[in-house]
Point group: C2
Chain length 418, copies 2
């Protein structure tokens, strides 16, 4: 796959108005007088250019892929086609979870540009969690988004020919899948070049990297991630891909979209919440806020189960668990639903665990920990995440319900387990 | 997907010499004097035209897809593109299991024609099993073919970008996948239009179609088949896709190729052997030959395990279970291998079970049973297959080793269980 076409040029705050000033869908929103447009580059992610463009009439986000990983530089090339995959993910998510993802105004495949809805006054959820501010309805929104996108992108719901075409479409995103496969499932478990961790963690890191049971299970999860094309995943569904106000929740940045196992999106999100929970001592102790994070985790999972079950009972239009087989045997369908939810639960705990480990040992860490200046305190917060992560990966098939995992997190947070 | 191009014309014994007489790769084998060619149409399968073309110099097989299901007629259209998928499967199988599949001399995508190696004096294994004739090395050959193709088409071995491209290639075979998904996993479990069964089975069929546990598990297997793109499967690996002499074994007809779970090919094959075992009383009682079938089943599985383990230990070049993670911890890799083999075993038993059920209740039955003229005896043989099939589907996660399943088959065969 070519990284970019010859015509590709990265946008700058200077060139953007001229280059997008001819696009009707954009001038309709911002006006044709590009002199009144104000551009700011605000990309704080790892991969792309992101501009907020405002005029007296409106505001939009312009996201452009770079032909390399921004976090690392041009030594790590990455195809622009990820904008194409993100575009296709966004239009599908918009259908499946209406109103929860940015509306697209304009897509330019060659320039790898997506112009889309600007959510304001939304901020990235990670920052909200560090500021210890609550978001009303957060767990319900995230659980609903998960249930709707995971169910409606699968053979439980879709016409299977369409699902298979989508599998073929997204499986070509080889390079972005490779990032996930490598950074999440492999690098953390040996002395890989791109790894880094807080120095105080050395003994724990050594222990984890010698832990055969952990590594075998992490690779079983990698196999499931790479091979089980169950549904269209967001693929990078952490708290940095969520934008919130005090009472609204939106989901952004699905460029790591792929067909994969349902538990992956669920687990990555829960893992990031548990890490945010453990990081709280680094942002001023606030037991009530920590309790709110755990409550939110429970709400995400419980809402997911409720919404998934609702869709199962009312919207099972795919090739799986067909109505024709279970006439007058609705309990059979409940039995099958129970099994599927158990399987998602087990996977989600495993993926939550590997996410917590990789965000501490691999290349990309989380702001909640990185912002803790006191290295001893940071190592303590991170160690707790590692402890829960390892536990979940290895014991995921024999865990109780979400409240039991939250209890375990509380035990670890108290230092009762070390 | 268009069923066929305007230029497509089915071959006949009359038109074949003229139409293929210009192809160098074929005249090299048969000579340029098409007047000396002798063509016979021998297709006894469910889908295609198959010709044996001989001349004084040689012989070839010419297989051409029809734009409908031959078994049913033009009321069931089917795209010619399946010849394209078969071609791509054959060239990959030839690399992964050299010498075990027909060499391809010529492929014409538009005409859906594959000209390939003619295996002689080989006959279809099903007929050999009805004639109660042994094949030396059969279990070893089939076990080796399974291990090599399943391992070498997966992320255990392949460059993952290539595997992903192959997933994208084969997942477009929507119509053939649909046949498997419908005929194997759904139709048998309700009163579907295309179903038929031996009348004496009515009470058993009614019981199976009311069996919630069975139906739920069959659909879990359908979900795994449809979604778990683990390796390139043959996709239709029964005893009608195997050609043998008394001491040679070849594999043909992979047009149902797809990326799916490893256990599928293994299970379909074992299921067909167990059915052949139960059918033996319909072909003259021969306890020794029945014992040989069970021995062959054990050899298939044991050879598969041995060869898969060998490849695991010596050829793990893919993204899964990387060497770098297990330096000086080879036991960890054995642990992972054991887990994977257990998972394949469990899946294989489940797929064997659904195969045994569908071959008795759904559209396509097996010759071993169809050729039993005595309907009472046929129903008895088929009932035993259904009994084992149901048992395996529901209990697949808690079965012992292959000898225990063979013991169970013997108990059922004695009528000890009914």
């Amino acid at each position: 796959m070519a990284l970019k076409s010859d015509n590709y040029r990265p946008l700058t705050v200077e060139s953007l108005p001229e280059r997008l000033g001819k696009v009707d869908a954009i001038t309709t929103l911002l006006g044709v007088d590009t002199g009144t447009w104000d551009c700011k580059e605000v990309g704080d992610g790892n991969l792309n250019l992101v501009f907020i463009v405002t005029s007296g009439r409106g505001a939009i986000i312009v996201k452009q892929a770079l032909p390399y990983v921004r976090l690392v530089g041009d030594s790590w090339p990455l195809p622009l086609k990820r904008a194409f995959f993100e575009y296709h993910a966004l239009i599908r998510q918009a259908e499946r979870a209406p109103g929860m993802v940015p509306e697209i105004y304009h897509f330019d495949e060659e320039q790898a540009i997506i112009a889309m809805e600007f959510f304001t006054p939304h901020i990235i959820l990670r920052h909200k969690l560090m500021a210890q501010e609550r978001v009303k309805g957060l767990g319900e929104a995230l659980g609903t988004f998960l249930a709707r996108t995971l169910f409606l992108g699968s053979d439980l719901s879709m016409d299977t020919a369409k699902r298979k075409h989508d599998v073929a479409l997204f499986v070509e995103s080889v390079e972005l899948n490779d990032i996930t496969e490598t950074l999440i499932f492999s690098d953390p478990y040996f002395d890989a070049e791109r790894n880094h961790h807080t120095p105080g963690l050395d003994p724990i890191v050594a222990r984890l990297r010698a832990d055969v049971d952990l590594k075998v299970e992490a690779h079983h999860l990698k196999a499931k991630f790479a091979n089980n094309a169950e549904t269209m995943l967001h693929g990078d569904f952490h708290t940095g891909s969520v934008m919130v106000t005090e009472n609204d929740t939106k989901i952004i940045d699905p460029e790591f979209v792929l067909y994969g196992p349902m538990g992956f999106d669920v687990g990555m999100l829960l893992g990031n919440f548990w890490m945010a929970y453990f990081a709280q001592p680094g942002h001023g102790n606030n037991a009530d806020y920590q309790a709110w994070i755990l409550e939110t985790i429970a709400r995400i999972w419980n809402t997911f189960v409720a919404e998934f079950s609702h869709l199962w009972r009312t919207g099972r239009t795919g090739i799986l668990y067909e109505e024709a087989l279970f006439k007058d045997q609705q309990l059979g369908l409940e039995q099958a639903l129970g099994h599927r939810l158990c399987a998602i639960w087990e996977d989600a705990l495993g993926f939550a665990g590997v996410e917590m480990i990789r965000r501490t040992l691999s290349l990309a860490h989380i702001a909640e920990n990185d912002m803790i200046e006191d290295e001893v305190l940071r190592a303590q917060c991170e160690a707790r995440g590692l402890e829960l992560g390892r536990f979940l990966v290895v014991n995921r098939a024999r865990m109780g319900d979400i409240s039991q995992v939250n209890d375990l997190a509380q035990q670890i947070n108290k230092g009762a387990t070390s």
